[in-house]
């Protein structure tokens, strides 16, 4: 059953990118995009071009660092890696998300029980 893919909000994509980089280490833009798609089980509607805007934002805030390198098949590409500040930011964001989903789950779950 092909459900409509979820649209991503701007802030959430940033968190995803950070998490991916934290888990994968250094990676280029394409790699990050594919990874997010795979992990999310292709549930996320990701316009791959938006990754680059997100990467610029993260870079400007100092949460990731970038440098040019070569890939396995000798292609020059820009590799990104998470910084210390980025890791701190990620931890804070993860905490916030967990709290949010917890609260939302409880509130929404309560409604279902009432209805049932």
């Amino acid at each position: 059953m092909a459900e409509k893919k979820l649209d991503l909000m701007q802030g959430t994509l940033d968190v995803m990118v950070l998490q991916t980089l934290s888990a994968m280490g250094s990676q280029h833009g394409y790699g990050i995009a594919r990874r997010i798609e795979q992990i999310s089980g292709n549930q996320v509607l990701l316009n791959q071009g938006t990754i680059y805007a997100s990467l610029v934002r993260l870079q400007q805030r100092g949460w990731i660092a970038a440098e040019w390198g070569t890939s396995d098949n000798q292609r020059k590409a820009k590799y990104y890696s998470i910084t210390r500040r980025g890791a701190k930011q990620l931890a804070a964001d993860v905490q916030r998300w967990e709290r949010l989903s917890d609260v939302m789950g409880r509130v929404l779950g309560q409604n279902v029980e009432d209805a049932g």
Binding site: G49, R57, Q60, R75
Partner: protein, 562 residues
Amino acid sequence: MTDWIRELAARAASFFRKMARDEEFDEEMAAHLEFAVQEHLRRGMPLDEARRHALVAIGGVSQARELHRESRGLPRLETILQDLRYAGRTLRRDAGLTAFAVLMIGLGVGASCTVFSVLNALLLRPLPFTDPDQLVWIANGTSENLSAQTTQVANLRDLQAQSASFAGIGGYSPFYGAGDILLSGSGEPERLTGVPVTESFFPLLGLKPRLGRFFSAEECRWKAPKSVVLSHGFWQRRFAGDPGVVGRQLTLDGEPASVIGVMPAEFDFAATFTPGSRADLFYPFPLTPETNRQGNTLALIGRLRAGANLATAQAEANVVGERIRNAVDLDRFRNGFRPRLSPLRDRVSGRFRYALVVLAGAVAFLMLLVCANLSNLLLARASARKKEMAIRTALGAGRGRLIGQMLIESMVLASAGAALGLGLAIGSTTLLARLPAANIPPAAIGSYRRRSPGVHSIDIGADRYRVWDGAGAAGFRHGSYRSDERVRAGIDRKRTRLDARIPGGLRDRAGRGPADGSGPIDGEPDPRPPRGSWIRHRKPAGPSCRPGQSVHLAGAKAGLFR
């Protein structure tokens, strides 16, 4: 918080490295596409399909680039810069209209600026006296009618004696006739305006004579031999600045008068006290019982003692006024005294307030006209640009973007016009300050000049009138002297209608009152007839005047009068 600053700094840095960043992005895009194609190829897709899939997955390279750019630099600033460049191109294309609009704005702004700067200078000009803030104007009563504002000699003496706040009080008599004194003898006969002043008037103001000295006590006695102090302007005009003029005898009204001094250049009596007239010379007004009998004759100015303030001076003066009231009951010839003190500066600049309001209104109206014209112009052009707007909308420009661009265009026009206006204003104020007849500070602002026979140019504060008179236009010298009077009469009439307050009307010199020369009538404060009957010539009319000769007023222009 620091993230935000860091981001701003990074954005600013990217703003200046656009080219490099674009190249980097293109590289990244290319790499991304390659990786995608490789992956699809590994799965066994043919090459062109692989490429297609890759492009679709990216979601459009140009969109990606746009997003990238937006995140990267300072998008708003970049938009503005782009709009500026575009506005420049558009305006250049429509050079005629641009030039016209800029010129219009420039002239409007320039004119307004000039007018207001000049007025500002006039209003804020410090009085040319020592310690002008210590000078107060002592009016008698609150009426605007000058006859009611003046004070009797005895009241002046009392105030001087009984009040401790004043270091000195002096005054002048505003009831002099313009052109009442005939200078004859050597050289051309000329009609002069003389202002009677008390002995202490000039020392009170802190003035020092340019040549010679001021009046001594001897000369300020009743029926003393005539002595005069010349005004600077008159000295230059008539005697060409001759330093030997002190001690000369002039024949005034058939009697000899000795010149004892010359006023300094900075002092222009008319500009400060009686705008719209001129003062050629000054002679003593004696403070004696004879002048006392003439009633209210003096406009008083006092200098506050160091440490005294206006409020205490007013209180003391009120007390003096009360005491005088008792004296009035006893003495038939004594007038009441209700002193109203105000700083001299307020008195002097307050008289321009009306002119300023009128001028401000005129200038505001001018600017309104400019704006209306400009809107018409731009509206006409806007309707011709509908196609351009349509194309831009079709290409994806949002409404905000188009509006922003129009705004920037208007701002470019306005700035150019304002710059031109500023330049014009600077130029014309400099020019005005230099024109000898304009007499903008530090010299006079009110002066009378006869520019050529028949054409009289008169600056009255900020109003300027050019007047022709019938006889003068024929170049008839003698006649034009008579016409001077009538011209001034005509002007005075006009000024009356404008509710101006000119003290130097056509009256007789102090010393010659109504028919028998006696004092006031039955407690009436003023023996002089009120303003309505100003037009009265005591001298027999010359051969070329006819009563009722018309005076043509060329119209009041608020701008340059040449």
